[in-house]
Amino acid sequence: MTRSATKPDPGHAATPESLRTFLHGLPGVDKVGAEQRAATLATRSIKTTAKRWALDLAVRMVDLTTLEGADTPGKVRALAAKAMRPDPADRSCPPVAAVCVYPSLVPTAVETVRGSGVRVASVATAFPSGQVPLAVKLDDVRAAVAAGADEVDMVIDRGAFLSGRYDEVFHQITEVKAACGDAHLKVILETGELGTYDNVRRASWLAMLAGGDFIKTSTGKVSPAATLPVTLVMLEAVRDFRAATGRQVGVKPAGGIRTAKDAIRYLVLVNETVGDDWLDPAWFRFGASSLLNDLLMQRSKLATGRYAGPDYFTLD
């Protein structure tokens, strides 16, 4: 990367000007070209052994999510049980990566998954809008972490980003990162509100420079949520960021990924954009709720040669 000379050093205070200059100096994204590349990769045909491998990996990458106003401890316990043993009929089925819940339900989730290896992620920072003062966001994060969350999914302030106050967004992310302590920080860009792929690329770099461990497409509350071309642009960003800084950042598409076929398309995208290093739950996740059952259904179809009805798979 020839651009590393102009890269702001995240360890020191970047000036608003240097951040802006850097972000606007990133190569643009051609919309037609990016969408065409994603569409071409979506025609890859993944069969038999490759499909089996991909389905298992996809299960292990799921952040099983419930983010409803009606969530209760009972609902979260059921979700967490499912996360640990997605398919009670098949012991070979791996657990998912994490459960993702609101901060108030973190204690329930932590208690249920304890010792299973399944991690607990919590959205924070006034999810999904992010439109509260920073102090409130930080309290939100501290509460989630104190309750035992392993991972924090924060939302960026899209208003600040779109009005060009990049330094403000940068500052908020660094503060949240500090408040996370050891917890992993996923930064939700809410790409559906950013409007252009150029903005997606800039927001990705901003989040990585500010210390995010993961960049995540969406809250799931805004349409469009995750798409293949948006994820492609974010994968290119983490690839270039690692080449420039040596630090690897994960990617999490979230929202709208409902079928095993969709999930496999994302894995193909990962495979052919950033390669093996990201084909691991530590570096790539799916934020999803209904995806898991379709993955299980396809797993069982591959194993038995026939489809079982939806009643043979558990509700979460």
Partner: protein
């Protein structure tokens, strides 16, 4: 690689390749007069696919006579709206039999099924639909109130896009009221012969389309035949020159679509990831067997290193192999002869001091294969920067200023196509005005559309195919 894609072959069972094929003359398959034949082989396996008839002078006579009869008695006098019905019918049958055509094309040509399925065959259908629409509107095409057909067209097409080139030739000829005698390339006759069956299925009047198979001699006999009024050729500049010589001083009209050595120009402000994607598509699409392939990459020196890194990384993900595998990106080289030519030019590139880099792709044991290759440190003086390689070989040159980019891009005897990669709209327009190329793509490459004219400058030929302009080649006005 952790994620190994299992083989995902498209089934061959949909195609029914006969052991031997005759010539398609006057609506039926007939044996050649002197009984000669040759074999067509599958480039991916080197296995013989079928025995193909060789049309000799007597067969050319018969076919031209049949085309003349059909022109005078049926097709020429037929109202355009009626001709359109046949063309629409052919277009629909092509869509209905698309998978069969795609599989057969990949088997005979070696191109990946992803391309024959998603590019070639859909375009073939589009070409017939598009020109079907013109058949009853020729008086409004800008060539006078009542433009007339020329008569019988002799058409010779290449092996790189066998059925698509057939469509480029036959659809406008038929729409304008001409009849045709077409010779497909020696190495790729099968889809043209299946197209002959489609003509029968569409109940196209006998003699309107005649397909004569054979090698260069058959083509020469056809082109030099007194009974044809129009020659349309797509292929090498060398053969194009011979054709131009042979028709000089005759009444025959001629269009030639010949070679190219297109420049793909990448500026520092380009969307680099998409530019790299376009460069890959520009040269490795169809194994580089594309006359308008972006075989010269001109990259602004300040980003050359970055672009090359991205390009090489991208090339390592190209999947070379079985053309029928749905995940194959680069298929087989069409023939042993072409493979030898590509190898020879690549060796000359090395001898002349260019740096060769080849994508680390495993190649099958049998068949004709050439790994995607890039040459850097290439200058205008290298043969690989001047001659058409017609294979998956990219020559990389650099430039410092837009003026230098224009000068280098135009410094070629060819002039078929060019590509511009920049996020700056004004620069695209400035450059497009100055590039001496028939097609200039901006932030994309190798995009074809029946409504858009296609053709070259200088040694890339003359005449235009496609769009309203493509009608002119088949109309007297």
């Amino acid at each position: 690689m952790a994620f190994e894609y299992a083989p995902a072959p498209e089934s061959r069972s949909i195609v029914d390749i006969r052991p031997a094929y005759g010539l398609f003359v006057d609506g039926e398959f007939v044996a050649p007069a002197d009984g000669e034949s040759f074999k067509t082989v599958e480039p991916a396996t080197e296995e013989v696919l079928a025995e193909i008839a060789v049309a000799g002078p007597a067969d050319v006579d018969r076919a031209v006579a049949a085309a003349r009869r059909a022109y005078e008695r049926v097709w020429g006098p037929m109202p355009g709206a009626e001709r359109a019905k046949y063309l629409f019918r052919i277009a629909r049958i092509i869509q209905e039999r698309a998978r069969e055509l795609a599989v057969l094309e990949s088997i005979d040509n070696g191109k990946p099924i992803r391309e024959s399925r998603d590019v070639d065959i859909p375009l073939v259908a589009q070409w017939f639909f598009y020109y079907a629409g013109w058949a009853d509107k020729l008086g409004y095409a800008g060539f006078g109130p009542d433009p007339r057909p020329l008569g019988v067209a002799g058409q010779v097409i290449p092996w790189n896009f066998p059925l698509l080139m057939l469509a480029w030739k036959i659809a406008p000829a038929l729409a304008t009221g001409n009849t045709v005698v077409l010779k497909p390339a020696e190495t790729t006759p099968l889809t043209a012969l299946l197209f002959a069956e489609i003509c029968q299925q569409a109940e196209l009047p006998p003699g309107v389309v005649n397909i004569l198979t054979g090698a260069g001699d058959t083509g020469r006999t056809l082109v030099e035949h007194d009974g044809i009024d129009k020659v349309a050729f797509t292929g090498s500049t060398e053969v194009g020159r011979q054709i131009a010589r042979s028709v000089a001083g005759t009444r025959k009209r001629v269009t030639l679509e010949l070679g190219g050595k297109a420049a793909n120009i990448v500026f520092a402000d380009a969307a680099l990831d998409q530019a790299v994607e376009g460069v890959v598509n520009g040269i490795f699409f169809n194994q580089g067997h594309v006359c308008c392939a972006g075989s010269r990459l001109l990259v602004e020196e300040s980003v050359a290193e970055d672009v090359l890194d991205r390009l090489k990384r991208r090339m390592t993900t190209l999947r070379v192999g079985d053309p029928l595998d749905k995940n194959t990106d680069v298929g087989a080289i069409n023939s042993a002869e072409q493979l030898a030519r590509i190898r020879a030019l690549a060796e000359i590139g090395e001898q002349e001091g260019a740096q060769r880099w080849t994508a680390p792709c495993p190649l099958p044991d049998r068949g004709f294969w050439f790994s995607p290759t890039v040459f850097t440190d290439v200058t205008q003086a290298h043969r690989i920067a001047r001659e058409e390689i017609f294979g998956p070989v990219l020559s990389v040159l650099t430039f410092r200023t837009p003026d230098e980019a224009v000068a280098k891009a135009n410094n070629t005897p060819y002039g078929l196509s060019a590509g511009i990669w920049t996020e700056k709209g004004s620069r695209i327009l400035w450059l497009a005005d100055r590039l001496r190329a028939g097609v200039v793509w901006a932030n994309t490459f190798n995009k074809f559309d029946p409504t858009s004219p296609f053709g070259g400058y200088q040694e890339s030929g003359y005449g235009r195919e496609g769009g309203r302009h493509g009608l002119e080649a088949y109309l007297a006005h």
